[in-house]
Structure formats: C-alpha cells, structure tokens
Symmetry: D2
Subunit: 351 residues, 4 copies
C-alpha cells in the first residue's frame, strides 16, 4: 500500500477552509492534514489554537491545532501540497514562496485565476517580485476539472475557480464550444448565492436582520468572477452580463442563464449535447428536460447540476445551474483537483 500524502491548509478558520478541512480529514489517501495559521493570527495569543474551539461542530474527533506557517516546518513534516483558503492578497504573496520551496499549491482565492491583464486589474495587485508573479500567472492552471483535466495532473499551481464562475462556465461550455450560441444577442447569467459566499467577516451586509426576509443584487457589471467567466469561455465582457444576488440561505448557488441559439433546436438535441459533453464527468448531473435543478439537490455534495427550458421558438434557452458554493464552488473542487494531481480517482473522498 502506498504511503499516504501529507497536505497543509492555510485558512481553515474561514467557511471554505473549514469545509476543506472536513473533506481532507476523511480523505482515504491522506494523513491528517497540517492546519496552519498566519503569524498575524497569533497576535491574540501565543499558543496553538484548536480549530474545534472556533467551530465546535468539529469537536469529538480529536484535536485540530493550528500551527504558525513556517516553510522549514512544512518541509520537515513532508508536506507536498498546500491549500490556500486565504484572501487573494495573501495568496498572491505566499504562492511564490511555496513554489520556491517545491510545494505544489491549490489556491482557493482569485489571485491566480486570470491570465489577461484587463481582468486581473480588478484585483489591484502590487507584486513585489513582478517577474516571478507574472511567470506564475501564466503557469497557473484554472482548476475546473470538467474542462481542464488534461492540464491539472501536472500543475504546480492550481487556481481553484470561483463559486459563481463554476456554475456559469459549466452551464455554458457545451453550447459555446460547439458554437451554438448567437453571441450577438448577449448572454446573461443571473446568479443567486447563499451568504457563506460573502465570507465570515461580520458586516452590516451579512447581519442576520439585513439578509433574512430579503433579496438583493450587488456588484452588477463589476463582480470579479466576470473575468473568469469571460476568460474561460473566450467571451468579451461585453458579451456576457453577470448579476449576483444575495439569498437568505447559508449556502448554495443557483444561476439562471439566458442564451439565444443561432438556429432553432429541439430540446432533445440540446440535452444530448450536454450529456455528450459531460460524459464520464462524475460531478456534473444533467437533468432530463424539462426537469430543473434546485439548490437543495446539490447541497452538501460536489455536484454541479444542470437543467434547461427551451422556448416555443426553439431559440431562447434558459439554463439552470446549481451547486453548493462551499463544495463544488470551493472545497470539494479543490479536493477534486488534488485527486487529479495525484492520479487518484476523481471522486476519492467526495462521495
């Protein structure tokens, strides 16, 4: 039996990082992961912190100490892969260091997802070592396994996709790659996300009373995930309109996506196109037309669920795409990427 892999996680105290830690703890190919904290986190105390003190839901299965990040210590422990569930500025700073140490990285932030300057500008990076960063930017693999499974296995740095972007790209790729869509008429992604997508930092926007009994749109035309969507689907940002909304639920995303087809089509042909495109892709479920996914169906799973409705004119198409934003939209997809990077079954630890 092969030796188990040792991985580390930085950012386990956030929602995605916690979900990732839970998945890694029960992954059969892994030793118990090393949980890291940033030195800045230690300002409040000098001892090791226990993750179960922050998330009592985790207690009962031993201890989960958070250790300060130290490259020598990681090397000594034999850590080969580092997961970053950190703000993008932190990822931007740490990834070059990790790579220099020979450690592979799956980064859950937006720091390394974009190749084109026009899109990356929105992150406003000021890289200390611009050359290294520029090189890494081009070397990074966008970790959407259903589209990029050929590049992920050998990647040094996998940029794990954004939660919204995953639902939109997976819904559109089968149609755009076969040039069925009339791009002149515009593509619209109207997305709705649970609050965990907004992060754990308390704010007036995430206060229970602000969210409950409410729905709001935000960052229309300006959300960072628009860049990913455009880049991966080879669209201009003038061709796709992306409107995120904040739902009064803890987790889950539903994207309602509108396209015009170039020619009238039959629903059966469209369904066949989806089934064909995702054949053998374990974590995309294509719903039999006219059944539609709902957020509940994919909660607590790594599935992205796709369904659609076709207008009587045969050209207007509404696609519904759902996922759990913390799993297929973050932690589960990160594990899926790791599985590909180490040659394991894509579903290992994810069912």
């Amino acid at each position: 039996m092969a030796a188990k892999l040792r991985v580390a996680v930085l950012g386990a105290t956030g929602y995605s990082g916690l979900e990732l830690t839970r998945l890694l703890l029960r992954h059969p190919q892994l030793e118990k992961p090393v949980l890291l904290r940033r030195s800045a986190d230690s300002a409040n105390g000098n001892g090791n912190v226990n993750l179960a003190d922050i998330f009592p839901a985790l207690s009962g299965n031993g201890r989960y100490p958070l250790e300060p990040l130290s490259w020598p210590s990681l090397k000594q422990k034999g850590v080969e892969l580092l997961f970053l569930a950190t703000p993008h500025e932190v990822s931007r700073a740490l990834v070059p260091e990790a790579v220099a140490q020979g450690i592979r990285v799956v980064d859950l932030s937006g720091a390394w997802r974009l190749k084109q300057d026009q899109h990356r500008a929105i992150y406003g990076f000021k890289d200390a070592d611009a050359v290294t960063a520029a090189e890494l930017t081009q070397k990074a693999v966008y970790g959407l396994p259903e589209l990029n499974s050929d590049q992920i296995p050998d990647a040094t740095l996998v940029a794990n996709p954004g939660c919204y972007a995953t639902t939109v790209i997976l819904a559109l790729a089968p149609l755009l790659k076969s040039e069925l869509v009339d791009r002149e008429k515009g593509i619209i992604a109207d997305s709705k996300s649970g609050v965990s997508g907004a992060g754990k930092e308390p704010s007036s926007r995430t206060h229970f009373v602000s969210v409950a009994d409410n729905l709001s749109a935000y960052a229309v035309f300006t959300h960072r995930h628009l860049g990913e969507i455009a880049e991966q689907l080879q669209l201009s940002t003038n061709e796709v309109t992306f409107t995120p909304h904040l739902l009064p639920i803890p987790r889950g995303i539903l994207s309602t996506i509108y396209v015009h087809l170039k020619q009238p089509m039959q629903a059966a042909k469209i369904e066949a196109r989806y089934r064909d495109f995702y054949k053998g892709k374990r974590f995309v479920r294509v719903f039999a037309n006219p059944k539609l996914p709902e957020i509940q169906f994919s909660l607590n799973t790594n599935y992205c669920d796709l369904g659609f409705c076709l207008a009587p004119d045969g050209q207007r198409l509404v696609i519904i795409s759902c996922e759990d934003n913390l799993i297929k939209g973050a932690a589960g997809q990160a594990v899926q990427n790791m599985n590909l990077m180490y040659g394991w079954s894509e579903e290992e630890g994810l069912l």
Copy 2:
C-alpha cells in the same frame, strides 16, 4: 361629511384577501367591510365563521364574521363595491352576476386581465354565458394605476394586476413607451417571489422543508403573468422571457430585468426618464443611480421600487424592481384602484 362607502370582500381567508381586509378595516373612507364566504365554504359548519379564528393575528379589534355570499343581502346592506380575492374560475363565474346587480368589482384574480385570446387561453375558461363574458372581458380595465389612471375612475370592473406583472411592467414601461429598447435582442425578466405568492393551499411544494435553504425556478416560458406583461407592454411573447423563482421568504418580489438600449445612453439620462415618467406617481420610488432596491425596503408598503445599473458600454441595462407581493402586488393595489374609482386621494389608507 360624506357618508362612508360600504364594500364587501370574498376570499378574506387567503393571503391576499387577509391583507386586503386589514387595509380596508383601517381605511378612513369606509364602513366596516362585509366579509363573505362562498357557500361551498360552509360545508364544514353552518354558523358564521370568524376570520380571527383563522388568523389569530387579527383578533383584538372586534369580530370578523364571514357571511355567505347573497346578492340580495349585499344590496340590502348597501354594498357598492365587491373585492374578489378568489381563484380565477370563481371570479370568472361571479363577476357577471355582480355587474348585473349593479355592483362594481375589483378582481384580484387573473380572470379578467387579458384581452387577447392567445394569452387568455392558458386560463382555459368555459364560460356558461360567453357573450356576457366576452363583453366584460373587453370592458374590464387593467388596474395598474401608474399606467391606466385615466380609465380606472369610471371602471365597472377593475382587473387587479398580477404580482410579478406589476414589477415587470412598471420597470419596463418608461423605456418601452419611449422606444429606447432594442427589442430584437430580447427582454428578460428574472423574477423571484416569496412563498405567499404561491397561495395558502398546503402542498409538497410549499412545505417548509421544501422551501427553506432552497431556491427553484418554475413555469419558465409558461407562467400566466407572461400574458399580462406582453399585453400591457405591447410585446410579443417571443420578445420577452419571464422566469419566476420561489424564494425562501414569506413575502416580497425582486425582478431583475435585462434590456439592450438601441443607442448608448448615460445613466443620468435613464434616471431622468424614469423620474419624468413616474412624476406625481406616489407609489413608485425611483432610486438614485447606482443605488438598488432590495426586497426588505418595500415590505409592508404599497411601493414598487425601481433602480438600475448600466453597463460600461452604455447599452446593456439591468433594472431591479421590488415590491411586497401582497400589497403593491395585490391588496394595496386593489385599494389604490378603489381610491381612484371613488375620487379619493390615491394614498388614502395606504401610508
């Protein structure tokens, strides 16, 4: 001082009917309304039923007996106006009778909203007296006060608009009436509603466990309100795509509406167009660009709130339209129509 008006309500045991009853009870121009039940409702008991037994929230301000509907009794009590908060089949059957009695009607169902056969077909009426029904269909006034305030005052029958339709029509009218929209590229209304819009009848779809922590799309391309939207805005149903969703909240609607403008415009011009169009319209609030309405802002009010975002290209426009589906989307709008029908201030009893 003028004598107060006496009105009656049939259907006070539903969500819209209850909300209507609450508004009528505190309306300064009205005597206490007569609350009616259908004879079919009396199968379960032969005495008068008290509405406060059904909705204990209503108790504490006297009694609310439900009387069986009887035209002679209504005439004797001097009822001049009847509100119907009933299924559309019931409204379709009762309105001709009421009109024959000389009683004016505000009907909250979809029975009389549509003039064009192609749209009305979806309701599948089999009218006993087709001539009367056909005449009434053409005589009925679509009760959206912001657009039809010239016809409502003299109407015998006001067809109170659908909840979704109100948000979509009010959002689009200023642009379509001035022919700013490139209709070739299609218009999309992605609407999200609280569960009270689905009615009070228990079903697996309205079970708490089915709705909570969820979002689902339904009736894509087939929802009945599509006909109203098309008719009022003089669009073909091929030009507008309407997707309703069920939100995990009790009440409120947010519609996200997408149009292409024929020419690039400045946001200030668009805002001016909205302000100009709704000048003096008490119950439409135009938000200063780029502020956007949220569902919470209009809950428990008769406002429809409008805001928008304009793409950098100056042509793609996202309009957000919100209302309380039980008030501006039903009961409040019905009261607003009554106010116009009797020459009172439009806001009487609604602030």
Copy 3:
C-alpha cells in the same frame, strides 16, 4: 384643536429607534419628530445625515435629517419630550442633562429601570454625578402601562421595559399578585427572541450564517432583564430562572413560562383571572384556553399575547407569552407611555 406636541429621538439609526421613528411619524398628536445624532456620530461626516440613506425603506415620504444633539436647539424648537434609543451608558449620561433642561424622557435602554443596587450592579455605572443619578433612579417610573398606569402620567422619566421582561412580567403578574403561585418550587421563563433584539452592531454572533438553521441559549442566569423581572414581580433572583435563546428570525419573542400553583385549579378559573386582571387593557390579548399565541400573531403590533396550558394535575401551568420585541417590547410601548404621559388615548398611533 390643541397644538401638536414636538418630540425628539436620539438613536433612530438602531432597530428600536427606527421602529419608534416610524410610529412617531404617523402619530396624529405629534409634529414631525426631531431626529438627533450624537456628536460622536458626526466623526464620519460633517453634514446632516438622512435617516432614509441608512434605512431606504423609509424613503418616499420626505426627508429625515439627523441633527446633532444640542439642548439649546431642542429648547428653541419647543421639544418637550425626548426618546432615547441609545446604549445604557449614553442614557445614564444624558438623562440628568435632559431633566435639568425641563425635558421629559422616555428611555428605551436599561439605564433607569432598576431601583435595587443588587440588580443595577450588572450595568456597572460609574456616575459622574452620583447624587443626581441616585435621585433620578428612584424617581424613574418603570413604564409598563398595564401595571403602572397610575404613575406614568406624571412621570418626568419613564424607563421603558426590556423586551424579554415585558413578556415575562405580563404573563406572571396576574398569578403572582393574587398569590396563586407556589414560589418554593421555582418559576422558569424560557424565552426565545428574534435577532433584532441583539442590536444592529455586526458581530460573529449576528452573522447570518451563525444564526440561520440554528438555535442557541445565552446569558443563562446572568441576563440583565432578570433584574427587572425580579424587581417588578417582587421575587428574588433565586426564585426565577430566566433562559434567553436566539431564534433564526428577525423579530418577535415567545416566552414559555412554568409555574406551580399552590392549589389545583380549573383552567376556566385561570383564564378568568387573566381576563379580569387585564380588563380594559387594550394591548394584552388573553387567548381562550387551550389556544396558544404564536410569534406571528403579534408581529407588527403592540400586543402582548397570553395563553396557557394546565397539566392534568391542575397545578403545573405553562404560560405562553408573545410580542413583537421592537414594538410592545420597545418602540410601541414607548409610544404607549407617551400617550399616558400626555393624556391621550392609550392606543393613539398604535393601531
């Protein structure tokens, strides 16, 4: 017709203060209230702030500027009554100043509710002017109109009760005042509140993801409202156990209260005792046994709803007490107190 009263509100940017402002704006005996902000609030900007910018739900009915608090300005405007919806430290500091200016006060905080040092200790006041504060403490009237309507009319300072305390005291008073309860066996108040009771300040505790799909108990044996309950009911804190819980809803309180009766009683006698005690009290609704109040029934009203169940042994009694924590538990009760202070009908502006 008598001149209208002018009042001022400090703290309109909090949940209770906003609710209070809404009630005052439509109160028929009042001029438009003066809305105040603390000078500390102006650090972020030097102009007048509009309350409708903070709460867009309020827009559409004119402007709501927030002025800096200034005693000369209040006197000049003829303000006779000041509502404080502020943290208790602020109320403790400001009330002596207001009283010195001849301005009456209804204070919504806990600053002046407690007469006994042992209970007040928990607020940890360090009064600059201890003599004045001590005098005012004794002069303050606990503003629970159903119990203290004889003292409120002439009060200079009304201490508006705590939200939890209102539900518990109103549920227990009829039984304790007639000495029906076996206090030896202990009295238990198991209370559950919506999140607005925790205030508007964002924190990890009020983050949507922390509250949704959850229930938690907190401050068991140590909550500040325990002192009010004990003092008003003349109980020792050893005789009453009070356990607050945080509900995943924006507003509303349900308290489940457990007592042992000294002697077995019939339910009809208990109901009669409640009806007798609250005869003529407009804002307490006694439910016919065995019907029980639910939180929904009193939302958006000034009612406190009471109902009960009696054990087969005739001695164990479970009382259910519900209210809207922002209305009967705060702003509505404050208005009710004002109505008594100025000799108006108790329900003025509250129906």
Copy 4:
C-alpha cells in the same frame, strides 16, 4: 472477509427514511439496501418507482427502485434486517409478520417503544392479534445505545427512540441515575424542533408561510414522547413537564432542561458526573462548562451534545441538549443500533 449484510427499508420516501437510506448506502458492512414501498403506495402506478425521482438530491449514484413489500421476496434476497420508517399503525401491523419470518426489525416509529399501558394508550392501537403484540411489546428493546447497549445486541425488535426523547433522556439520565435531582420540585423539558420532525405530509401547519418568522408551542402535556421520557427515566408524568415547539428551521432539536439538585453542587462535579457517565460513549459530546451546544454544531452528525449552566445557588441547573433530529434522533441512531446488533463498531458508517 465476511459477507456483507443485506437490509431492507420501508418508508424511504419520508424524511427519516431518506436519511436512513443515505446512511445505509454508504455503510461499509452492507450490500445495497432493498428499498420497499407499501402496496398502498402502488395505487398511483404499477411499475417500480425510483427514489431519486422523489428526492432528486439522491440522483447520480445509480438507481434506487422501490419494490413492493413481499416476505417471500425478502427471504429470497437474504434480507436479515428490516428498518421501518413508517407511521406507527403500519409498524404495529407489520412487525409481528416480520418477526414471524425470522427477520429482525429496527422500527423508527413509536409503535413499540412503550411497555406501560398508561403511556401506550395514546397511540390507540387495536391489535388484531393482541397476544403476539403484547408479547412483542415486552420483548422490544428501547434502542438508546448509550443506556441499553447490553440488550440491543441480541434484540429481535429494536424500538428506535423518539427524536425529542433522545435529547431529554440523555440529558437527564446521568443526574437521575445517581439520584442527584430533587424530583419534588419538578423537571421541565422545553424542547424546540425543526420542521422535518413534523413529517413530510403537507398541512397548513407545515406551510412555509406558517412556519417562517414564527415560533409556536404545541401538544403541551400531551405529546407522545412524554411517555418514553417517563418510562426510560422511571419518572411519573406528573414529575416531568414537556413542551415541544416548532422552530423555523428544517432540522435540529435543542432541549432546554431544568432541574433542582437536592444539594448545592459545584459545576466541576456536575461536569465530571456527565463525563463519567458517558465515558466511551462515542456519540455523546459533553461540553466543557460553561460552554453550551447549539443546534448547528450537531447538524448532519450522529452526536447528541450536552452542556449546562449552574445557578449561583448551586442547585438550579439548566441543561442544553442538541441533536440532528433526523440522525441521532432517527436514522443515525437506527444505524447505531444495527451496528450493535451485528457486533460492528458503534461508529461504523456514522462518521
């Protein structure tokens, strides 16, 4: 390697049955379970039904046909253990048949939990074969593994405990078994449950609009679980007051339990008593005083979480007990019982 066990489930279309099916599908000691439907269920169609059509969340891992219940078929397939997630009347009728076939049963209903006639009366059984039923009633083992792990391994019929009862019994057993409680003063269990506990049948009570933004008490002094609590803890129903409430969340229970201790104690002693009592019990987590469990912490796990607060007087004790009502309160506990019945690790398939 030992052959895997084959089990069957009747009632997989309910909430508990679905959760059970999910757990059984991934249990390492089991073959794929046989999913059964009652013949009455087939009235709507004569083919096999697929559980994934009813719960689309289940799709993606193969098919889940529901077969009509047939004893010969079960025998032929080698089914040794039958799980019943059915109404209690159904369980009461089927269990004697199953036992006669030599099939062991874990019954999730209340049909076989009670030995004492006074408590069982509330179920109102009219047994066709009273002798068999009476014998089975006495033979049935109450399947609370933390208390009855000595009897469960050899049981033919395990009566899986009620969801509420599990939280209350586990919270009280350590104190009652060591006679620390002053039973004269009464024991109170104030319990709050998510809506899945009310079952999947749509009703006005489980309508989203009835539950959301609400809390209600029900079945005070009359809930069926009171009998289990009394019997297992050897209390009279006059000594324990049980008040269930319906929470606006899909799943989870929090019970707040009140006892008086005979003598003042220190918190450390009480905590030690709990830790000692549950030593080695994998699925009870005792929280370090004064930390308290919350519903979220145990969701989607088989844990029952216990914590407490002690009054300054050292005698009044408030215990908080939480679980996921569908797992530790139903399906997970059923699996835990199976694990004991077949000599596997108690946590097999449950982590």
